[in-house]
């Protein structure tokens, strides 16, 4: 069960008609370095030939409209004044409430775009534990932290499924789970992916979610996200989590379409509607939701 026809037919069953998309490049300002002066940085980049347009749903996000220079090779980028970060991928961190001073777990952190965003939104207060399994990816993450002057993060080479072994509890947990990806960000996606891959990834994601829930404080929040369009990795996993892990879905104020409550004929919990799904358009495909502990009875 693979191939473009197979997956496109699934998307149609889920209510979205496939069309090829052209992603727009996006950047995110690091306001802790830039002293919060977004307009000055917009003008500074404009003088280099980089025309930006504010992304309406992101506090620090901008579309790159026109560029005479590579956005990843300006002095301003190297100084850490901004990061290149896909627009939908900027959403998960914005869903946490009140990050300052909190202890945060970034369960699958590399290459570090969201870790830097967390540190930025925390104003480098509190602490972040960032995990990733790949040493090579941790090198990229570390360079990213150094470039953006992140000071509140500790990085471990650790599989997120082993996070309870650290013996720590966290107020906020980002599970940006390793996933199958989507065709919008990978031109060979349809050729390379099978349903078996998707199901294997979904199992790993459940294990990560389960372990993350073990590390969550009583009033903690988990934001779960993937850049997959496949419901096995998204709504079906969240439906599983809210029935097994003493978690419930929190309402979020976020763009995107509502989470699917009926997947291939299977009826899911009605609260799944509070999840958000980004079908590829200007952004890549993406899924996000926020989980909190069920109130104790």
């Amino acid at each position: 069960m693979s191939g473009k026809e197979f997956f496109v037919s699934r998307y149609e069953q889920l209510g979205w008609k496939y069309r090829p998309v052209e992603l727009r490049q996006a950047i995110r300002f690091n306001h802790t370095i830039n002293n919060g002066n977004q307009q000055a940085l917009v003008l500074r980049l404009l003088s280099l030939g980089l025309t930006l347009e504010k992304i309406s749903f992101l506090p620090q996000g901008y579309w790159v409209c026109n560029s005479k220079v590579s956005a990843g090779a300006t002095a301003e980028y190297l100084l850490g004044l901004y990061s290149i970060q896909e627009a939908a991928a900027q959403v998960p961190v914005t869903l946490f409430s009140n990050l300052k001073g909190k202890r945060v777990l970034d369960a699958s952190a590399a290459p570090g775009g969201k870790t830097v965003q967390l540190a930025n939104d925390m104003d480098n207060t509190g602490s972040i534990v960032a995990l990733d399994i790949s040493k090579q990816r941790l090198t990229a993450l570390s360079n990213h932290l150094e470039r953006c002057h992140v000071r509140n993060t500790i990085v471990y080479q650790l599989d997120a499924r082993n996070s309870p072994k650290m013996g720590l509890k966290f107020d906020r947990i980002l599970v940006d789970a390793p996933c199958s990806g989507n065709f919008a960000s990978d031109p060979r996606w349809f050729q390379n992916r099978t349903l078996t891959d998707v199901e294997r990834n979904a199992r790993v994601q459940r294990e990560i979610l389960m372990k993350a829930a073990e590390c969550l404080t009583e009033n903690g929040e988990i934001v779960y996200s993937t850049c997959s369009l496949e419901p096995e990795e998204n709504e079906l996993n969240i439906d599983w989590a809210i029935h097994r892990l003493n978690l419930q879905i929190a309402e979020i104020n976020c763009p995107g379409t509502l989470g699917l409550t009926n997947v291939f004929g299977k009826q899911l919990d009605p609260s799944i509607v509070h999840c958000r799904r980004f079908w590829p358009d200007q952004t890549q495909g993406f899924f996000v939701c926020k989980l909190v502990r069920c109130p104790s009875t």
Binding site: A75, L78, S127, Q136, S142, R147, H149, R151, I154, Y156
Partner: protein, 163 residues
Amino acid sequence: MKIKAVVDFALQFGVKLTFNENLLVERDGRIFLLNNQIKPLLVKGDFFYAGIFLGKIRANKFFPSFNLLSIIATQKANKIIVDQKAGWLFICGRDIFKKGIVQTYGRIQRNCHVLIFNEFGECLGFGRVLTELTQQQPQTDKNMPAVANVLDIGDFLRRERKT
């Protein structure tokens, strides 16, 4: 050893740094400065990165991080401010010519180290002074390298290409 390497490096810029040694940790020759929030999270000895990366020691030589340069930059350090073109060429790994220098601060003598700033007051790296830069000696050739590039923020791009 680790604290001495960092302090000695800062002294080259005329800056005396002090650290709480209890908050300095070393991992594979890399030196990190923690804070009281992060220190309790050192639950495993084999962390990969922590707090503020200050630099690394390789073959008994200290290589500073850009975070350390930023810390030094907040003090009264020897520094020069360069114009946009000289700043860009510096980031590309080139030396600085005297004609690109807008202003100098501190004790700028031959062979001493200086931080390099752009006109926005941002630290681009550091270099070694090759020639006298004081106004008393204006005859220095404006088209000759005045500061040799030692480390610049273009290093992040070079690292990206490696990984």
